[in-house]
Amino acid sequence: MATITFKINRFNPDDERRGHFMQKYQVEAKKGDTILDCLNRIKWKQDGSLTFRRSCRSGICGSCAMTIDGVNNLACEVQVMALKRDTITVEPLRGYTVIKDLVVSLDPLVKGMLKVKPYMITKTPPPTDQERLQSPEEREKLDGLYECILCGSCTSSCPSFWADKEYIGPHAFLKAYRFVADTRDEAPREHLEPLDDKHGLWRCHTIFNCVEACPKDLNPTKAISELKKALVNDKF
């Protein structure tokens, strides 16, 4: 048991004049408690108006991404004790418009993803009463790509996104590469072309914040470098 002070960056849309402000809460935390547990405890016992998204509390739905002590992460996956601090700062994801407290608008996230045609494109009809064949080695190429939970941590941590709100974003690059790398997709070009854009791949300056931020330990930068190679090859 330890008393932890949470400094939470709050914003109430009904009181825009007040703007963003930090509010402190004290919570009793024990071994095993996550940041989300503590936020819930604040909401349920102290201040019902504290607002954040959450659902699965097991790191799979991607709702609870926020900036914890200056790094993006899933609130439900961070152990309070592991931070070894008695004051923890929690802020909404940077770069997105804040709707309320820790809730941000995910529109840029969805928009970026929609640009890369985030679905498998096939031209030949699939075999009847059978799956398409794909060897385990071919399938293995999708590991590290399909696990993305669309939490937005990566894009929100990227300085290129801070500078350009229309930046397609590492999450969408990862998605694009998920299809480019899939042997079953028959139109990799259609996922690649939209990336050759002034808000696209070339805005990535290999900063690696996205990799550091991804709670699922995925590597958008790796996908980006593959995509850059593919696009340049395509141009020659």
């Binding site: 991607g62 996956e77 985030p118 794909q134 385990p136």
Partner: protein, 594 residues
């Protein structure tokens, strides 16, 4: 009945009301069931999907193990075998005509997912890989476990859910993410649409449709310890109840034996499959007392009951409500290679390194077998038996067809959600091809919903929503959990009455319209209190033990009296019951032994 006119809806005492949205099909829920239906119907019709969480945040994404289908990619398999296992697993309460459809169409559905792009794991021949799962066997139970669960590593639900979202984008399905359904508009047995709350901006919206479908998922959140998401509050069930329709078999709730202590987060069956021990405070592998043959590998309900007995009799660790799942003897290498996810979960959520320490676990509420009664075409049944409500469909965990009967087999629910979601889509298409007109909208369509919102936004009593909810969850776990008895259930009936009284006097901290999760938690609690009554009342009535429903005062299954489905309505404060026979075609009830 006059038609609603967008112009005539104004702000009503501070609650903004927005204009009417019209779509041929409106689906509530963006889980496997909802989105699979959307994919099916969107080729021909204008489909909109409403979800209280962003589509890919739906709880279907949490499923790890797999989706069952007798593809026979790895070894010989037949749909008849799959059917037998499902019927036996259901403790003979499943309707065999529906089960037959499910197991027969399963390979089609799974292969379709593959065609859409789901990244299934593969066999060396390049086919969809399959693994073993509890209760799935060869040769009508005579052979050993069978490789039947199709999987994408340990992220099957995630892979399927995201894939469906992608297909929906491709098919230009209209999403209303973060819209919360408040009430159904059903008049004269015709479903005309629904009313929903825009979570982000605040405001009541009316959705006018020719067909409405529910895929609103489960309700694990009425229990204290559950593997379910915080959003799994079973809203759809009480919306249906409030529309005067019945619910089926609500007393059947599945408890999974291994949930992380206090968190409830699922530790997959693989932990036991790979040889993990379950031990009590005295260090005993107590399963040898309950299932000397299968030990830890006995079926879910049995292991759950054994763990709970140990805890109840004071042999939990340090007298607390948990026991240990010990993996240490497997060795660090094996753990990291075969059970990396479990290692990660225990570390991330309990701060326990399972190569060095045992994992504290306790049974966790996992799945609801009952729900909205539907027929094989996913039409919701007004009388619970035959007569469908025109233009109203349901599928997935919120529905009860009933393929799971008294107890669901692992990997059958992803199958059910997608398969009956698909059937709902098809049957809506058939329905819409015949109807061209939108049904009339009653002028007072949004009245009840607005009243509900107004009441909560101005609620100024002394009770915290969270306190009532915690009491509900705690009491449901104690009195209507793994072990039930007339005594406990009667106490629960009383408790529920008190909780409802306290619920009248709640207080809300947040009075704004925009992203008011305080308000939503209050609405959700209202739903949970409402359908919990049916769980308890159904359990009290059912004087037998079958599947997941275990009565200490009636420990035997009683086919003579209870081989039937419970149907329950709520009219005012009264609960009325009716029963309908189980459909038995191929497999006659036998004693369920493993």
């Amino acid at each position: 009945m006059s038609t609603i006119d967008p112009e005539t809806i104004h702000d009503v005492e501070g609650v903004p009301v927005h204009s009417v949205h019209r779509h041929d099909v409106i689906i509530v829920g963006a889980g496997l069931a909802g989105m699979r239906a959307a994919v099916e119907a969107s080729d021909e019709f204008d489909v909109a999907v409403l979800s209280k969480v962003f589509p890919t945040r739906s709880h279907s994404g949490g499923a790890q193990g797999g989706i069952a289908a007798s593809l026979a990619n790895e070894e010989e398999d037949h749909w008849e075998w799959h059917m037998f296992d499902t019927v036996k697993g259901s403790d003979y309460l499943g309707d065999q005509d529906a089960i037959e459809i499910m197991v027969k169409e399963a390979p089609v559905v799974v292969r379709e997912f593959e065609h859409y792009g789901t990244p299934f794991s593969r066999t060396p021949e390049g086919r969809i890989a399959q693994r073993k799962f509890g209760g799935h066997t060869k040769d009508f139970g005579r052979g050993g476990p069978i490789l039947r669960a199709c999987y994408a590593a340990d992220r099957t639900g995630h892979a399927l859910l995201h894939n469906l979202y992608e297909v929906c984008i491709k098919k230009e399905v209209r999403f209303y993410p973060e819209f919360y359904a408040l009430s159904l508009i059903i008049r004269d047995n015709v479903c005309r649409g629904l009313v929903a709350w825009d979570v982000i901006n605040g405001g009541v919206h009316v959705f006018h449709a020719k067909a409405v479908m529910f895929g609103t998922g489960g309700y694990g959140k009425v229990f204290e310890i559950t593997s379910n998401a915080l959003a799994n509050t079973g809203d759809g069930l009480s919306l249906v109840l409030r529309a005067g329709l019945p619910l089926e078999d609500m007393e059947f709730v599945q408890f999974h034996p291994t949930g992380l202590y206090l968190q409830g987060i699922l530790v997959s069956e693989a932990a036991r499959g790979e040889g993990g021990y379950i031990i009590n405070d005295k260090g005993e592998r107590f399963m040898e007392r309950y299932a000397p043959d299968k030990m830890e590998l006995a079926p879910r309900d049995l292991v759950s009951r054994s763990i709970q007995t140990e805890i109840n009799e004071g042999r939990g660790i340090g007298g607390e409500a948990y026991v240990y799942c010990d993996l240490r003897h497997l060795g660090e290498d094996a753990i990291m290679k075969k059970l990396p996810q479990i290692h990660e979960l225990a570390w991330k959520f309990l701060h326990v390194d399972c190569t060095k320490e045992p994992i504290p676990i306790q049974p966790t509420a996992h799945y609801s077998m009952g729900g909205i009664p539907t027929n094989k075409d996913a039409q919701v049944l007004a009388d619970g038996k035959e007569r469908p409500v025109e233009g109203f469909y349901a599928a997935g965990e919120c529905a009860c067809v009933s393929v799971h009967g008294g107890n669901r087999l692992g990997t059958n629910s992803l199958l059910e959600a997608s398969l009956f979601g698909r059937r709902a889509g098809k049957s809506m298409v058939r329905f819409l091809r015949g109807t061209r007109e939108f049904p009339e909208l009653p002028a007072d369509a949004a009245k009840l919903a607005i009243k509900e919102i107004e009441r909560f936004l101005s609620a100024d009593g002394g009770e915290r929503v969270a306190d009532i909810r915690e009491d509900l969850q705690g009491k449901m776990t104690d009195e209507c959990g793994i072990f039930r008895s007339a005594e406990k259930l009667e106490a629960m009936v009383k408790d529920l009455g008190e909780l409802e009284k306290r619920f009248e006097k709640i207080k809300i901290d947040d009075r704004s319209n925009k992203f008011n999760s305080d308000l939503l938690e209050a609405i959700e609690l209202g739903h949970m209190l409402e359908f919990s009554e049916l769980i308890v009342a159904g359990a009290l009535k059912r004087e037998e033990s079958r599947g997941a429903h275990s009565r200490t005062d009636f420990p035997k299954r009683d086919d003579e009296k209870w081989l039937k489905h419970t149907l329950a309505w709520k009219k005012g404060d009264e609960i009325t019951f009716d029963y309908k026979p189980v459909i038995i075609t191929r497999f006659q009830p036998k004693e369920r032994t493993y």
